[in-house]
Every structure is written in C-alpha cells, then in structure tokens.
Symmetry: C2
Subunit: 211 residues, 2 copies
C-alpha cells in the first residue's frame, strides 16, 4: 500500500474506469442530457447503441446511433456481439459489447445511455456500474416532451406514458436519480457530471468486472 513516488503516504491510485449507465423513460431527455455531457468535453467514452429504427432528423450514423437493418442486427445478436438487446416499441436496440469494452480497456469512463429494460440487463452483467435514473419533473412535462418530438402518433404516445409510469417505479433499483425539469437541463447535466466526479473520489472504487 505504498506508492513508488511517495513512499511515505498510502498509494493514491488513479481511480479505475467507471461504467456509467444513464437511463430513464422515453422522452425524459436522455439524448439531450447526453449532448450536454458531450459538450463538457471530459475524457469520457460514449457508448453508441445500435438500432433498427429510422434516424430522426439530424441524427448521425455511428455518432447518435449505429443504424442497422434488421437482418444485420439479428446477426450481431446471434454472434453474441451485443451486450444486451431489446425490442422497444417494435424496433430493436442493442449495445455492441465492443463499444463498452474498448472504452474501459483504454481506461476511460464509459457513459452508456440505455432504456430501463436495458439497464436491468446491464445491472445483472455489471452490478458495479453506476446507475443513474433520469426522472421528469412531472408526467405533464413528459407528455409535453413526447408531443413536441412530433414523431409519436397519439396511441403510441399513450403507450409510452403508461410504460413510463411503470418504469418510474423502478427508480429504487438505481443509485442516483436526476430530475430533468423543463428548462433545467443544465442542472441535470451538472448533476450527472458531479456524480461521476464523486464516484472517482470513492475510497472503495467500483471495479467493473466486465465481459
């Protein structure tokens, strides 16, 4: 427990890389928070999710998502190249294992944005990850955001709202909750940033035994 450079004090090892799982119901603002986190320009690795859904305006392949046709996606699934995958509202989503593995191996904290189902799978595989749950300020706010997105037809929106209510009940499975109130995205981003900073200061680090 002594470092090479300072023989007189207990070793201060650089904290091991974290796997940070950012989850929450559809429409809560995970993508906006992620964009805010990217702007902070920390040395984080953002894991990119593969999906069979169509790109929304402005989304870039390989950056926002890896956009795949269903055939390609299912082949990756067959070859066990996905950490987890799930059908959400009829489209496939999955995290390529390589996305997480590469970041951790390079010693970088990995940020993984994932739906609530997916977070449950990651919790089984990597319980030492840091689990952050994003919550809306209210269901009214969530409804407003889903409506604003303009890609949801009304019955689909109702389904998402019902699902959101079930998902919100799972907040107890997470270590942290960040409330993303309307017009307070900066605060939510700052809180996620603070959580990561604090986790790096833990005396007993969370060592991700991953894959």
């Amino acid at each position: 427990m002594r470092s090479a450079s300072s023989p007189e004090i207990p070793e201060v090892n650089p904290a091991p890389p974290l796997l940070v799982v950012l989850s929450g119901p559809s429409g809560v603002g995970k993508d906006a928070a992620l964009a805010g986190l990217k702007k902070l320009d920390r040395a984080w690795h953002f894991a990119v999710t593969a999906t069979t859904r169509a790109p929304r305006p402005g989304e870039k392949d390989g950056v926002d998502y890896i956009f795949l046709d269903t055939d390609t996606f299912l082949k990756m699934q067959e070859r066990d190249e996905l950490l987890e995958s799930a059908q959400v509202y009829g489209r496939w989503y999955g995290v390529p294992r390589s996305q997480v593995r590469q970041g951790l191996r390079a010693g970088r904290d990995v940020i993984l944005k994932i739906d609530v189902q997916g977070a449950a799978t990651v919790r089984r595989l990597a319980p030492e990850a840091v689990f952050i749950f994003m919550m809306p300020g209210s269901m009214q706010e969530l409804r407003g955001r889903l409506a604003h997105r303009m890609t949801e037809t009304s019955p689909e929106m109702e389904l998402r709202l019902r699902t959101a209510q079930q998902e919100l009940a799972q907040v107890g499975q997470f270590q942290y909750r960040v409330v993303n109130q309307d017009n307070c995205l900066d605060q939510a981003v700052a809180e996620i940033d603070a959580i990561i900073t604090a986790e790096k200061c833990r005396v007993t680090p969370r060592l991700v035994q991953f894959l």
Copy 2:
C-alpha cells in the same frame, strides 16, 4: 409513494440535509478548502469549532473558530454541550452540538471540518454522515505547507508529520478521498462540491439520525 402535486409519478422528495465531515491530517489544507467552499455560496451551514488555541493572524472569533479560554471550554464539556472534543497538540478543540443541530433542523447541509480523531467520534454518533478525507499529494507537500504556516517549531512539525502518517492510514474509514495537491486547491474544492451534489442525488438518502 405518490406526491400531492404530481399524482402520476413517484414522489421526488427534497433530499434530507446531509452532515458532511471534512477531515484529514494537520496541514493538508482543510481550512483553505473550507474557505473555497464558502466562496461557492451554496446554502450550506458551516459548523464552527470551539478551541482553546490562540487565533492565528486574520482568524475571526465565531467565524473561523469560537475562541474560548480553557475554563469555559471545560465547562461546556461538562454540560455535554460538545458533540466531541479532543486535545490536539496540547490545545482543546470541540464541536458545539448546537452548531450541527441548528443547521440540520433548518434543513441545511452541514459542513463539519474536524481532525481525524474527531471524525472517528462523529462516525460513531452519526454513521450516516458523509465522510471526506483530504490527502496531501505527498509527504513533501505536507511538510512544505506546515513549514510555510510558520507557527510550527521544528519538533512540533516532526510530531505532526508522524501523526499525519498514522492518520493517512485511516483513509479506509472514509467514503471519499480528495487529494489536495499543491496549486490544485480549486480541484479539491470542486470535488468536495461534486460529492455533496452527488450525495443529494442518491435514491436512498443518508438520513442523519442526529443527537
């Protein structure tokens, strides 16, 4: 588990007030960190410690410390008005219970700067507090800071350095460690601030059952 204002989502209670214990060996920079934390102007309550030591230049009674004569200090001790007290290098230090109680009752996070002995006492009384240990970048840095303070005669400094080494071995009793490297005080302050922010986001809050 449902809030009055938003019947459809689980209640997001304001996080209960934290008791944040900031400790570390003499000379590590606890006072400088505290000054930095005060400048952040958060709604924190800084518990003021009572002491029988003489004020250092610039220190204000009731702000930096409550300066007491030994007789008055011992009477407070007798009346059990001190949360903990200890003789450190021949002078008495103690935290008036009222300093902590008032802050917590007002719903404010209380920051308590305390030596390593004192932190151990607070841990027994309030294990749900948040314990942060400040470490020097190296023993050379610690020696330099103690020398710079100019109030330490050489044998006293050697005693402090030996004590510091013993205290550093106790870092495992703390939840967080913040390294205060020379010329990096701002980073240490930012880390303490982040730890408090993160603790406020915990899904399972640390409820201080205090006094």
